[in-house]
Amino acid sequence: MKNLNYIFIFLIISCTKTIEFNLPQTDQTMILEATVESGLPPRIVITNSQGYFDPIDSSLLNEIFIHDADVVLSDGNQEFILQEFNFNGIYVYSSLDFAAFGQYGKTYSLKVNKGNKTLTARAKIPQPLEIDSLWFEKYEAYDSLGLIGAKFTDPDTLGNCYRWFAQRINTYKYNYPYPFDNVKGTVKDNRPLAPIGSSTDDKLFNGLTFDFIFARGEDGDFEGPDDEGVEEGFFKTGDTILVKSTTTTYPVYLYVRAMENAAVSNGSIFASSGNLPYNVQGDGLGIFYGYGVSYDTLICE
């Protein structure tokens, strides 16, 4: 469908104008966004939704978080009562108990109570899988730019789902036009980033060993210095890349696929319609990710 969007953009002589809709006031919805991944503490963020066209001001971060919720994580054997931490204005429920850190093969249950609202969700951390090999696949047309090539072997059991992240851990060697005129010397990516199309299941390549390529992702909706123009989507000679390859579950794959498709379609009529396939039940919406993680490093030469 994404390709069809490009077809239409190419074909039509279109004109665009801004319009306004008068939407009725909507109630706030409790949103749960939780992650368990192997070797790391659980991260649970609970927020409120806003009206779509509501203006945003600097008080956004103070307003969206739901504080003092009762959050209980269970790994099937043990329950952990999660505490609320403040990381520079970002409120996260977590636990520093090592026993609560994500472990392969475990299925976690989460229960959130706030006032008279309850949310529940389940997520599994599958066994991680390592990539066979990585390389920098240069594009002839663009001198120093290229994508990551990878060889991968999928186990001969159907139903494996994957998600790909990559983080450039080297620094910018020069500045970019405003507002990126002082990025020189700063780390290129603050965290592993997933490109559009980052998640897949194995129905097309079950049990196969094959090569694939991945473009560079952006930090969600936020564009970095090199996310516009010729460098967009490319890695560069000299980059040191931390590749985070994860295994995940079918519901997470479905959610990520729909979420990324929505991100590029913005309500286009060519996209499939409807809300995302959330895996949270109860008085709200949300997603509970479970990742089995393996890391690798690549230097682009």
Binding site: C15, I19, Y52, D221, I269, S272
Partner: protein
């Protein structure tokens, strides 16, 4: 409560009905007549070209009896022995009155001459009063001559666009394949080209129809209760007849337009016995833009074009036998090439049809048409980048055989009966993909096979001078047969838990559809009538659209053991009145339509989910209804003619898996729809036309809420209930000016020293059109976005409307010799 209509008949009952049906046919043949009556029959033809005229009126003075020629130009009427004054007439042609002394069954072929400019009163006399006297409700025949002078988008005359100016027929909007009739979906229209089903009737995502106007003779749309000789669809029949070709002389027609050119060749193979017509059309956007794309451009090699070819051969084997071979082949091809990224894809799609028809007259009363049809529709998306290559394809192929009998029993009864069998092969989705040397495991294509068949019978019965009824019954059957693989999926893991394989021709599921049809007309006066109609239809194939507009990517999918046939019941009542010797016709029709077993994709379905899976595993099932009132007034003749059509309607849908089973407006729910079409013949050579259309905006879902995903750093949208809001209304005005060149030239005759008019060999005309003359920015779709940085508290959210076509002028030169 027991409901006959939805009851699937068991086989015993089915065979009992078949037995009774055969008995009825036997009775019809064995009936004898007690009074001395003879049959007058024959063909009505155009005197100049020899082409048969469809729907010509045959009327007997003083007896209030009449009939009309069928789609093959054949008529048959039974009259008392003795002298009769029979009038043959056809709109736009001079009438022909014949005094006939019937002393035996008589064959009389009639040639009608196209009317000259000075014969207006004859033309008016020839006007049909079918609007008030026919039993068929909601049937509209469109003359190609009229269609050609209506303003057309980019000058390309388009029958599909023209029918959307009629009440009860709405467009999905610019850039939307298909049309919508009385709240039905685009798959509920049976589109026939010389009896062959056309599955996708649009080029360029709906901007143009696949029908080349130069090759078409007649367009007939049935939007009310369809008679029982038609079936397989719930909402309408668009029956398009191709020209046969000139039986007398070689003729060449063509046109050079802004984006496409056309050429039609036709002529006799053997005069008055055999003829041919071949017609082609191609766009040249790609050719015109090619020189302007530099070799260094990243997009060198990208482009789009469509073409179509129609051809027909006709052979009058004898006075009783005629043979027709018609074919259509059309393709759209879109190519995208990005040399920098080494990325290229190709998207071809299109229809191919072929139909072989044999008309045979068993007697002057019994006409039979035997038809064999091949239909094929394919869509493909193939491309690749950096060693990764893929091809995604879908398609449908039909082999169809049928016989249609018309028995002109007597002046009271006109009987039609026949059978129809279609073998369907569907490929809902096929994928091949590779990365380097590694072929991905896309497994075998999941093809779906089906047998669709029907028996039908109908009687057009003149009960008395005022009351005429059309009663019919169609018994349809659909079998989903093997080979087939059923995938049973685990909803939690997406993994195939198990499969079940069916062998070739193994019966997997059988559906029977009893389809009663009834319509009646009661004449209130010479020029006014009331009509009622009820029809009950089954539809065994479905169109599943994954996006919110109809696109060539939409999948045709048949009934299976999980997808039940769609069932529609329509009730109509209407008042029809003609004025001023039938020069004006007007009608008011009210309808209610009930629809069951409708399909939609489940939310968040993606095309790749069809692989190693059954498409129907991703479908959800529901129901719907539509009701409306249609108002129509038409001035049929005179220098100024045209029509006004207005429809008020409401169309709703309900699916258990969408919005918790709440009713929601269908995406093509149009509460108000107005079309005004006018043409004025300024003089012999200049014609102007104008069209105004207004429609309530399409329904749509809007983002009501948002939340910020800190995990993904994205704004996530929460959408409203399905189709809870409306786009702005759609409206525009188009105008056209057609100037015919003088058909003669003046030369000085040196012998007589007088100026003489000599007919030109080439007759040409210019058509100037302006689409959307007041440059209305009609909404095509809306997208939502924000600017700024939410984390810095500077983001603003907004909606933007994309419109397709601003004011667009075009010029077309048409020629004929």
């Amino acid at each position: 409560m027991f409901n006959l209509f939805t009851f699937n008949l068991n086989k015993t009952l089915y065979f009992r009905i078949v037995k009774n049906y055969l008995f009825i046919i036997y009775l019809l043949f064995s009936l004898t007549f007690f009074s001395q009556q003879y049959t007058l029959s024959g063909y009505v033809k155009d005197a100049k070209t020899g082409e048969f005229l469809i729907g010509a009126t045959i009327f007997v003075d003083g007896e209030s009896k009449g009939t009309s020629s069928n789609v093959y130009g054949f008529y048959s009427i039974t009259l008392k022995a003795g002298e009769s004054n029979v009038k043959y007439s056809y709109i736009g042609y001079n009438g022909n009155n014949k005094k006939i002394n019937l002393t035996r069954d008589t064959r009389l072929n009639i040639d009608l001459k196209e009317a000259g400019d000075l014969l207006e009163e004859v033309i008016i006399d020839a006007l049909s009063d079918e609007n008030t006297t026919g039993t068929q409700m909601g049937k509209i025949d469109l003359s190609m001559d009229k269609i050609k002078t209506i303003p057309a988008f980019m000058g390309e005359v388009d029958v599909l666009k023209t029918i959307q100016f009629l009440p009860g027929v709405s467009s999905g909007g610019e850039g939307n394949t298909g049309f919508y009739v009385r709240g039905g979906g685009p798959d509920q229209n049976l589109i026939l080209l010389d009896e062959a089903t056309v599955y996708n009737a649009s080029h360029l995502f709906g901007f143009f129809s696949v029908f080349n106007a130069d090759a078409i003779k007649n367009v007939s749309l049935i939007k009310g209760g369809m008679p029982s000789n038609y079936g397989g669809r719930l909402s309408s029949v668009l029956d398009i007849s191709m020209k046969e070709g000139n039986y007398k002389n070689f003729q060449m027609d063509g046109g050079i337009g802004a984006i496409a050119s056309r050429l039609t060749l036709q002529g006799p193979i053997k005069e008055d016995t055999a003829s041919y017509i071949i017609s082609g059309r191609r766009t040249y956007i790609d050719v015109l833009t090619k020189p302007f794309i530099p070799d260094t451009s990243s997009f060198k090699g990208s482009g789009y074009f469509f073409y179509d070819l129609t051809a027909k051969l006709n052979w009058r084997l004898s006075d009783r036998d005629r043979l027709y071979l018609s074919s259509y082949f059309g393709r759209d091809v879109f190519t995208f090439n990005n040399q920098d990224l080494d990325f290229k894809f190709n998207v071809p799609w299109g229809n191919a049809t072929a139909s072989l028809r044999w008309n045979h007259l068993f007697s002057d009363k019994l006409f039979v048409n035997t038809t064999a049809v091949f239909t094929d529709y394919n869509f493909a998306f193939e491309g690749g980048a950096s060693g990764f290559n893929f091809k995604l394809a879908s398609g449908i192929r039909d082999l169809n055989l049928k016989q249609d009998f018309t028995f002109y029993k007597n002046s009271l009864h006109n009987l039609k009966f026949g059978w129809n069998y279609t073998f369907h092969r569907f490929i809902p989705s096929s994928l091949s993909a590779s990365s380097g040397d590694v072929e991905f495991d896309t497994q075998d294509d999941v093809k779906v096979y089906g047998n669709e068949s029907a028996l039908y019978f109908l009687d057009e019965w003149n009960v008395n001078e005022n009351l005429k009824i059309n009663v019919g019954f169609r018994l349809s059957m659909y079998q989903h047969i093997g080979p087939f693989t059923r995938y049973y999926k685990n909803p939690n893991s997406g993994v195939t838990d198990s499969t079940r394989k069916y062998s070739s021709f193994q019966n997997i599921k059988t559906y029977f559809g009893p389809e009663p049809r009834f319509s009646a007309r009661y004449l209130l006066s010479d020029q006014s009538s009331v009509k009622v109609g009820i029809s009950h239809n089954y539809q065994y194939i479905h169109l599943a659209s994954i996006s919110s507009v109809s696109l060539p990517t939409d999948l045709w999918f048949p009934s299976t053991e999980t997808v039940k046939p769609q069932i529609g019941t329509q009730y109509n009542i209407g008042y029809f009145k003609n004025f001023f010797d039938n020069e004006y016709e007007a009608s008011v029709e009210i309808y209610y339509k009930d629809l069951k077993n409708l399909i939609e994709y489940k939310e968040n379905s993606f095309p790749e989910d069809n692989l190693n899976n059954n498409v129907d595993n991703q479908l959800t099932f529901g129901k719907g209804y539509s009701y409306g009132a249609e108002f129509f007034i038409k001035k049929r003749m005179g220098d100024f003619n045209g029509w006004i059509g207005y429809t008020y309607s409401k169309t709703m849908r309900k699916f258990d898996e969408i919005d918790n089973g709440e009713w929601f407006p269908a995406k093509y729910d149009r509460r108000n729809d107005l079309s005004i079409v006018g043409q004025y013949q300024i003089n012999d050579r200049i014609n102007i036309g104008a069209v105004f259309v207004y429609a309530t905006g399409n329904s749509l879902s809007l983002p009501e809420r948002r939340w910020f995903s800190l995990q993904e750093n994205r704004i996530i949208t929460v959408w409203s209930k399905r189709n809870e809001y409306r786009l702005d209304p759609y409206h525009r005005v188009d105008i056209s000016l057609t100037i015919d060149a003088k058909p003669y030239k003046k030369i000085l005759n040196p012998a007589t020293n007088e100026i003489e008019k000599i007919d030109k060999k080439i007759i040409s005309s210019w058509n100037f059109s302006v689409y959307n003359i007041y440059n209305r920015a009609n909404p095509y779709f809306i997208f939502f976005d924000y600017s700024g940085d939410p984390l810095q508290g500077t983001a603003e959210f907004g909606a933007s409307q994309v419109s397709l076509f601003p004011i667009l002028p075009s010029i077309t030169w048409n020629f004929k010799f």
